[in-house]
Symmetry: C2
Subunit: 119 residues, 2 copies
């Protein structure tokens, strides 16, 4: 496995879900693929400002192992690789929506309080 021991014994459902989502860019990759349906490696890289190629690939590989995304390679030169959500990935995205909405409300509350408004 690319990262440390995962799929561990889980304490609860949150734990099991977190194992799959934790990683600096994973939820954003999910979001990006959900929005665009299909994205090339380079498109993802440009869509996630600040991500390093190493981490992007590492996360993509783990998510593929976890059955969240599908990787389609077109044997062309220069190479083309397209990523898309699997059914599991799409359902995870659905499950994350309430959390995203909660975070959105929190952001707005913080902004209203003048705390660390995004640049």
């Amino acid at each position: 496995m690319t990262s440390g021991a995962r799929r561990g014994p889980y304490i609860c459902g949150i734990d099991a879900a977190m194992d799959v989502v934790s990683g600096k860019w994973k939820s954003l990759i999910l979001w990006e693929l959900n929005n665009y349906g299909t994205r090339r490696f380079g498109e993802l890289r440009r869509g996630l400002p600040g991500v390093s190629e190493k981490m992007l690939i590492q996360h993509l590989r783990e998510m593929e192992e976890d059955g969240l995304i599908h990787r389609e390679v077109y044997r062309e030169v220069p190479p083309r690789v397209e990523y898309s959500l699997t059914e599991h990935g799409a359902s995870l995205n659905e499950a994350l929506r309430p959390l995203g909405e909660w975070g959105q409300r929190r952001s707005e509350r913080l902004a209203a309080e003048g705390v660390a408004t995004p640049a």
Copy 2:
């Protein structure tokens, strides 16, 4: 702040929510407080097998700063401190439920496939 720079500029709602939940024990603390309503420090420690006192306090402090939990000190000897969810904490827990259910299904699927069944 106890941990690094948080409440950062957020890329999206998930990001903002993750900032508050990320931490090895935070979602479990949320879960524990949701189940019991009110818990003492020592009860939480015993309820989260493997947590160190340092991390438990650190997480509790951060969650208090983030408005998720309430800390009530009773000036007795030996001291008594009780933790409980605030309204924000309870709503976060609600927002986490679909994710928990997703993780539960994933756990069951993994178990059915015979992959790393919990000890």
